[in-house]
């Protein structure tokens, strides 16, 4: 494995977004993974519709919460294609699901894996390099006050409550860390990103890790 790897260097990570006052992190995390893997496959990076996932992923609860795995199950089982964000813009509210015909263009998800990498974060690095950005669920209670730097304390691996997108890692410094894209806008954290120590399952980052296949 390379000592550091960042999918942003490959121009396949979309800009940080802002979920606003809506519990839609799970949708941002999944859509972030799908649009990046789509771009890794050679397509142009296109921002896909978070609102479509929010409105239509019926096993989740829209702005009241959800899980990335339930959204990915919905995508793979229904074969729904995600349309561009420009066609189905984000409203920060749960609305009526808008259906598109089968002939309408979009990005479909063929399969996904959801695995527990706790105690095996080096294997998780390999997974990231091989398959693209990963959708994970963490405990983010202390993130209310985060300004930047590498998180090493103040969170639990037993109370996951927030979905984010892991886009890289860096093991070259004194403290190896994961590079994580959040969906709280660019004024939060380090331009919308948070760094988390590698190796101790900090905040439960390795407990529920989803990779998508298109």
């Amino acid at each position: 494995l390379p000592a550091k790897f960042d999918w942003r260097d490959h121009a396949i990570v979309a800009p940080v977004q802002n979920q606003q006052a809506c519990g839609s992190c799970w949708a941002f995390s999944v859509v972030g993974a799908v649009q990046s893997v789509h771009a890794i496959g050679g397509s142009q990076l296109v921002e896909l519709s978070v609102q479509q996932v929010l409105d239509c992923s019926f096993q989740n609860k829209g702005c009241n919460g959800g899980t990335p795995v339930a959204a990915l199950k919905w995508l793979t089982q229904t074969r729904v294609k995600l349309v561009p964000q420009s066609e189905y813009p984000y409203k920060a509210q749960t609305r009526m699901c808008h259906f598109f015909s089968g002939s309408h263009g979009g990005v479909g998800v063929k399969n996904f894996t959801a695995l527990d990498f706790s105690g095996q974060e080096e294997a998780m690095m390999g997974h990231l390099v091989k398959h693209g950005p990963l959708s994970v669920v963490v405990d983010a209670l202390s993130w209310q006050d985060y300004l930047g730097g590498i998180i090493q304390y103040h969170c639990s691996s037993k109370r996951s409550n927030h979905a984010v997108l892991v886009v890289g890692y860096d093991t070259t410094g004194d403290i190896p860390y994961w590079i994580v894209q959040n969906s709280w806008g660019t004024t939060w954290g380090d331009k919308g990103y948070v760094y988390m120590k590698v190796g101790s399952n900090i905040c439960g980052i390795a407990d529920s890790v989803a990779a998508v296949f298109l």
């Binding site: 695995l115 669920v137 209310q144 006050d145 590498i150 304390y153 409550n161 403290i175």
Partner: protein
Amino acid sequence: WFRERFGRNYEVNSPQFDRRLFFFQESATRHAYLNSFSAASQSAKYGINQFSDLSQREFQDLYLRASADRAPAFSGQKAEG
């Protein structure tokens, strides 16, 4: 500074202002505690941001709405998933 920086328009000395000021002061106390764990330059820093006038309960209710599905442990098998 906080109200201007993050676009809060509640009036000074209104009930809403007093409530938000209370949560802001609680945040400041929390920041001191969170920052006391490590002084290393790379360590996380905690301080005033756009969530500093929310109570922890409000923050949880608004932003921490995901849950994790239990996933099988990675075993390195090629056919996994």
